[in-house]
Symmetry: C2
Subunit: 410 residues, 2 copies
């Protein structure tokens, strides 16, 4: 079997990124509460300081720290209470030496005050004054204006997926509209004379289509819009026509099946034709997933991907190339990997990166165990049993029991 013309994963990624660098998704502006889960397209700048004023972090009395110097549990200082500051309102008075004002948690400090003594360290002395039993440093129990977020600060960076905490931070800084990436539009095509839909009556020899369903779900997981999901017979003309039509409306066209070593291997030809010679790679040194085709058409700016027919391989290649490219172009961090000890020897496929699907098993007081899911590569249950995968280096001889591997959750 020829391995001469295949690319490594890194080579294929490099070619894809260079060719498709213009495919950075468009931006769109949305109301910030509609942005959860989406990817910020620009550094987001605070409209105002957070907090917008010096704020107490406790229930207590705003004081001048200098007034409390030398104070202790046995030697209090007595301060005159000149105001009770209501929540959400600005103080009316200025604190002079010897004075204090009651301030609730989250309340605004009056001018002159520079610290807050917790109510637990005070005692009412008479109608007008309190005894303070704590020596305070300047700034104690106070958040400065703008200490959390400064007006004009890029407080959330582009590429960040908006989590509930970012939604909260946007609200706090008065940012109600944000710029997020508009995810790609994708067409998913499965080819094969044997394919039947999930609800079709099925005769012996036919197989239910998996890839339009699983790849559509994977695409939707990235927020992509699935324009169409088609199951086609293994017929050159109809496949070419379908890809060509999809290229007018989709950013990415995924075609699974038809890319094995078998007789019907014309997907690469079609993709090369339709991309005006933009074929990037035809064969990647990874197992499973070798018969992968990547092309980019500069005219229509469409990414074409021929994925293996095996469901596990198709999902893996989608993740490793299309998902990866999308993360790169939208400035996202790669997902965290989990370090785990592999529970048995797995040889690598000579000269190819080898993807090992694993189940993660937690172990008390020790690192996680990664148990390889073994089975023939056509099995879909390879994937449903797996929590993630680890990819061995193309030059390695595989992994040995007890080796630490990095697992990408899947």
């Amino acid at each position: 079997m020829e391995l001469l013309n295949v690319d490594t994963v890194e080579e294929a990624r490099k070619k894809l990124l260079e060719a498709a660098e213009k495919k950075r998704p468009d931006e769109e502006e949305v109301y910030f509460t509609r942005g959860t889960g989406r990817i910020l397209a620009r550094d987001t700048v605070a409209e105002e300081n957070v907090p917008g004023f010096r704020k107490s972090t406790v229930d207590g009395y705003a004081v001048r720290a200098a007034d409390t110097q030398g104070v202790s549990e046995s030697v209090p200082v007595f301060l005159r209470v000149i105001e009770e500051i209501p929540m959400g309102r600005a103080p009316e008075k200025t604190i002079s030496p010897g004075e204090a004002a009651y301030v609730p948690t989250g309340g605004m400090l009056p001018q002159g005050a520079d610290a807050v003594v917790m109510i637990e360290y005070t005692e009412k002395f008479d109608e007008e004054s309190i005894a303070v039993y704590d020596a305070l440093s300047c700034g104690r129990n106070v958040i400065r204006e703008g200490e959390d977020i400064k007006r004009g600060e890029a407080f959330i960076e582009k590429g960040r997926r908006i989590r509930p905490q970012e939604t909260g931070a946007l609200a706090s800084a008065g940012v109600s509209r944000i710029s997020v990436f508009r995810p790609w539009t994708v067409t998913v095509i499965s080819t094969g004379d044997e394919l039947a839909g999930v609800e079709d009556a099925i005769e012996k020899g036919r197989t239910r289509d998996i890839n339009t369903y699983s790849l559509s779900a994977a695409a939707e997981g990235y927020g992509f819009k699935v324009a169409d999901a088609l199951v086609l017979k293994d017929d050159r003309d109809s496949i070419k026509k379908a890809i060509s039509e999809a290229m007018t409306s989709s950013d990415v066209v995924l075609v699974s099946g038809g890319s094995s070593q078998g007789e019907k291997d014309y997907t690469a030809d079609i993709m090369d034709e339709l991309s005006h010679g933009g074929l990037l790679t035809h064969g990647i040194a990874i197992k499973p997933g070798k018969p992968t085709i990547l092309a980019f058409d500069r005219e229509s700016e469409t990414i074409l991907a021929g994925l293996p027919g095996h469901p596990a391989a198709a999902l893996l290649i989608f993740e490793l190339f299309i998902g990866w490219l999308y993360r790169e172009l939208t400035f996202q961090k790669e997902p965290e990997k989990i370090k785990a000890e592999i529970s048995e020897n797995v040889p690598s496929a000579g000269g190819k990166a080898t993807c090992i699907f694993v189940e993660l098993v937690r172990r008390e007081g020790r690192s996680c165990e990664a148990r390889p899911i073994l089975g023939k590569s056509g099995l879909i249950t390879l994937l449903t049993k797996a929590d993630g995968y680890t990819v061995t280096d193309a030059n390695s001889e595989g992994v040995n029991e007890g080796d630490t591997v990095e697992v990408t959750l899947f």
Copy 2:
């Protein structure tokens, strides 16, 4: 400060689970492609075998393995080709000794055959026969009927979040309708005289509301339906009325703010009244998050949660109790944690579990580093800078630089 009446995290969880065990969400049936991301409510049983017939995993010739015994590269066996089996169709003939049939990858094996020789190990000899250069064991390059999934097998378990691979597996087994949990309905209430909306004009002393936005987003992250998100003044009667009304339509009512040690601490009283004495806990030994109230009303079957006003603490407590309870009741696994080395000493708050928000930094060839995000607990940027959190044991004295901690992504 009294720590006598607070529960540990484990005690509070136990009480909550015991009281609210009837809150297991209802099931609903959906078309399987609408189920991605949702939680399976029942073990899902395959409607048919996958594959539905003995299937070749390669392009080649279906043969009787016995016919290839003793065969090698220099000593081939010659077999008569009696059929070319088309993709997606049942073979018409039976393989007798000395016979073979062409079968494509994914094609159906004919009766009599028990292995497939890859086309690379064969040679056309004449119009009718081939030379085979490989000795095959029985079952070689064949997936048995039902080898992937067996009819009647519970091939995806309840509690599983449906990923693209489960969607694919469902399609493969002809399962088009599935039973998933219908997520809870939630009302989110923020209280405080100082609160302003994200687009309100703001005067000094007022603070923009964060918690209705961040808690709604967190609830939506679980698929919960947010029935209402309200910002209320710190007024006993209107808060009581709002909670009471929310209890008629929501499974969970979240109230943030009003649960500190300050003067306006009546949320616990209101929740106890409205739950007919169902107050479970008032104070949890965790930092941040101590002023947490949990109650369950058996009449309306509503979970009431008083969350701290601090945004970081409110989100953390939502995650540790409401998110946790939902995962428990829907049979979900707890999310994987990432082991990392902490980069500096962090003392624990005496007698309390201490939550340390951390940024994860990858290091080549070594385990991940967890860098504590330091700052006052009122800061929302504590959370936007954090990748996750780790919780120290209530009895520990904290963590020391270099200790391995388990980080939950957030």
